[in-house]
């Protein structure tokens, strides 16, 4: 359930942010989202996010690429238009297989890489003409923003965040 009121705490240093996240988590508050200008190493772990599953997706995309390569080369070079290149027998995929290995390899990599990037963008809800989600443009420059939902514990949270070194604390009404 998304709270309609959130607190935006702004930090100016990634180390301070990391310690703040640990503190907030240890006080058992839920962190909705953190916006940073660059990837902060270990932040996902500190926030308690689940490990990424993109590696599994990548493996599956690779398998798709490999299959596409095999089917494609079998159709092009064996069934549709067999060609005699370098005196190799051309009516059997298996006997010509070594010649197709580079293609199989490249398409595996191609599919894995491109589909993985596309998956990552979609999963991060980024697509063309998308309006930016980050609530404060300074998070694209040198500020870090932590978003915490408020459930009537506003003053307690503000106090806690101040202690962690936030330079600015805003209460925001997220109108839907």
């Amino acid at each position: 359930m998304e709270a309609s009121k959130v607190i935006h705490a702004i930090y100016t240093d990634d180390d301070v942010l990391m310690n703040a996240v640990k503190k907030v988590k240890s006080e058992r508050h839920h962190i909705e989202e953190i916006y940073t200008p660059f990837p902060v190493h270990g932040l996902d772990k500190a926030m308690g996010l689940e490990p990424t599953r993109i590696a599994i997706a990548s493996f599956m995309y690779g398998c798709v690429g490999l299959t596409v390569a095999v089917v494609m080369m079998n159709f092009i070079m064996i069934q549709d238009w067999p060609q005699n290149i370098g005196g190799k027998p051309s009516f059997s995929y298996l006997e010509n297989m070594p010649a197709f290995v580079p293609i199989m390899f490249e398409l595996t990599v191609f599919f894995a890489a491109h589909l993985m990037v596309i998956t990552f963008y979609l999963r991060s809800r980024m697509w063309p003409f998308k309006k930016a989600e980050n609530p404060d443009p300074r998070t694209t420059d040198d500020h870090f923003l932590m978003e915490i939902p408020v459930h009537g514990n506003e003053s307690e949270l503000t106090q806690l965040l101040k202690e962690t070194g936030a330079v600015e604390i805003n209460l925001v009404d997220k109108a839907h």
Binding site: A55, F59, G86, G87, K88, P89, E95, P98, A99, V101, P102
Partner: protein, 460 residues
């Protein structure tokens, strides 16, 4: 922390050496049971029941360049017949088999000796790269690597000594008269290469290679130990400089060594990426052994500063270099397979005909297995998992060396029997003894290395 070799380990390696010596002795004795062609005839007759004709080994020894090469799918039988007729020097099949029987114990000894030597040399290259790249993650492993590289000099000298003793049992180009026109052993191709391939050159080069590598090893180790109690980083800087120089020297000499010590057993054949191929093999074996010895010492609490991120990185290297090896293996194969030039393709025809199981099995062990075992990030941190993958990788690379030497020396009369296994035992024992004794000689933490802090806190 000082390491003390346990008595059990010392005893075990001595037992391995003794068992190995006995087995190797038996191998030589056994091969000399066959003295004449008549003995071989009797042997072949007794084997005929289960051997069916394909005992006609495609003997790469005397492979004629003119002989027609069949495609890799089963017309080879003619090639073999045509080939005997084409041979200028009428050696009978029995005499040929007799040579192969006599070659086997030498070849078995050479394969195992080279395999263990290559582990140490691969570890030395890895060590040099760590210094030259000023790597921050690895200094906690330096003493383990230095222990392994202690085997470079003795191991290399043993390989050269076996090459010297085996002579034409391993290297056909050492036969008498092979470069003299008109002689019954005359071989125009070998004669053309004799400017490089000659006995004096072979051993002089071998000693230069070994000398260079051991000099680097000696000084690098010396500076590394001197750095322990130093007040500044002078020794580290020296190590950085000599490591960079060593790597340049190494990549040239390693390539030449692989032509000399391995590729020349098939003197008609050549492959331009052979040096890289052998390098990949030694690199991955060296890294695997570094990982295994690290895990062994850590399990004995000698390496409290090594954490599972270090193991993770070593396992990543095992994974990556296994793929690199496969890339070279396949590149070498595909170009030769595609161009189908007789003097090149015989190499793979022999391997597909007579060595199908080890040749293709090795690809499974060295590529498919590590690929699937070590792909998952979490598995790279589980010691027993890495050890299992490592054992398969090491066996696979032994078979790799086996496949490089055996087809040219024993043809289809290969078997992994007493001579091969005892040679492995012998050199495994020697390797363990030398490496673990070297580990006792210095503290296991290179404490004053400028990157030590970073390495101890290394966290992936």
């Amino acid at each position: 922390m000082e390491y003390k070799i346990s008595n059990r380990l010392r005893m075990a390696s001595i037992v391995l050496i003794i068992l190995g010596l006995l087995g190797v002795g038996y191998g030589f004795w056994d091969s000399h049971q066959y003295q004449t062609e008549a003995d071989v005839k009797a042997l072949l007759a007794s084997e005929h029941g289960d051997h069916h004709g394909d005992a006609h080994a495609s003997d790469t020894h005397h492979e004629e360049t003119s002989h027609e090469i069949a495609d890799s799918h089963g017309e080879e039988a003619h090639a073999e017949d045509g080939h005997h007729a084409a041979e200028g020097h009428g050696m009978s099949h029995e005499e040929h088999v007799l040579h192969q029987i006599h070659n086997r114990p030498y070849a078995a000894l050479y394969v195992a000796a080279f395999f263990f030597f290559m582990i140490a040399l691969g570890a030395l290259a890895f060590y040099g790269i760590q210094y030259a790249s000023q790597a921050g993650w690895s200094p906690v492993l330096f003493r383990v690597m230095e222990g392994i590289t202690a085997y470079v000099l003795p191991g290399g000298l043993i390989v050269l000594a076996i090459a010297f003793a085996a002579d034409s049992h391993l290297f056909v180009w050492l036969k008498d008269g092979i470069t003299e026109p008109g002689h019954e052993n005359y071989d125009a191709l070998v004669a053309g290469k004799s400017g490089w391939l000659n006995k004096t050159g072979f051993f002089i080069r071998g000693l230069i290679f070994l000398g260079g590598w051991s000099l680097y090893r000696h000084f690098s180790r010396k500076f590394s130990i001197a750095q322990d109690n130093a007040d500044d980083n002078r020794n580290f800087k020296k190590n950085f400089r000599i490591s960079a120089a060593f790597l340049v020297f190494y990549i040239y000499t390693e390539s030449m060594m692989s032509w000399d010590w391995i590729m020349s057993v098939d003197p008609h054949w050549f492959s331009t990426l052979f040096g890289w191929y052998v390098f990949a093999s030694m690199f991955v074996s060296g890294i695997t052994v570094i990982a295994m010895i690290t895990m062994y010492l850590k399990s004995r609490d000698y390496l409290p500063f090594v954490n599972d991120s270090h193991l993770h990185d070593l396992a990543k290297f095992m994974f990556a270099i296994s793929i690199f090896w496969t890339y070279l293996w396949f590149s070498q194969f595909m170009l030769i397979w595609y161009s189908n030039i007789p003097e090149e393709v015989t190499y793979f025809v022999t391997r597909f005909q007579d060595y199908q199981l080890p040749f293709l099995g090795m690809v499974v062990m060295n590529f498919v297995f590590p690929l699937l075992m070590l792909m998952n990030s979490d598995y790279k941190r589980i010691p027993w998992f890495v050890v299992m993958a490592g054992i398969v990788i090491l066996c696979g690379h032994y078979i790799d060396v086996f496949n490089m030497i055996m087809p040219a020396t024993v043809g289809d009369r290969w078997y992994i029997g007493i001579p091969e296994i005892s040679s492995i035992l012998l050199f495994a024992g020697l390797f363990l003894l030398i490496v673990f004794t070297a580990l006792t000689k210095a503290p296991l933490l290179a404490k004053r290395n400028p990157f030590m802090k970073e390495s101890e806190h290394f966290h992936y």
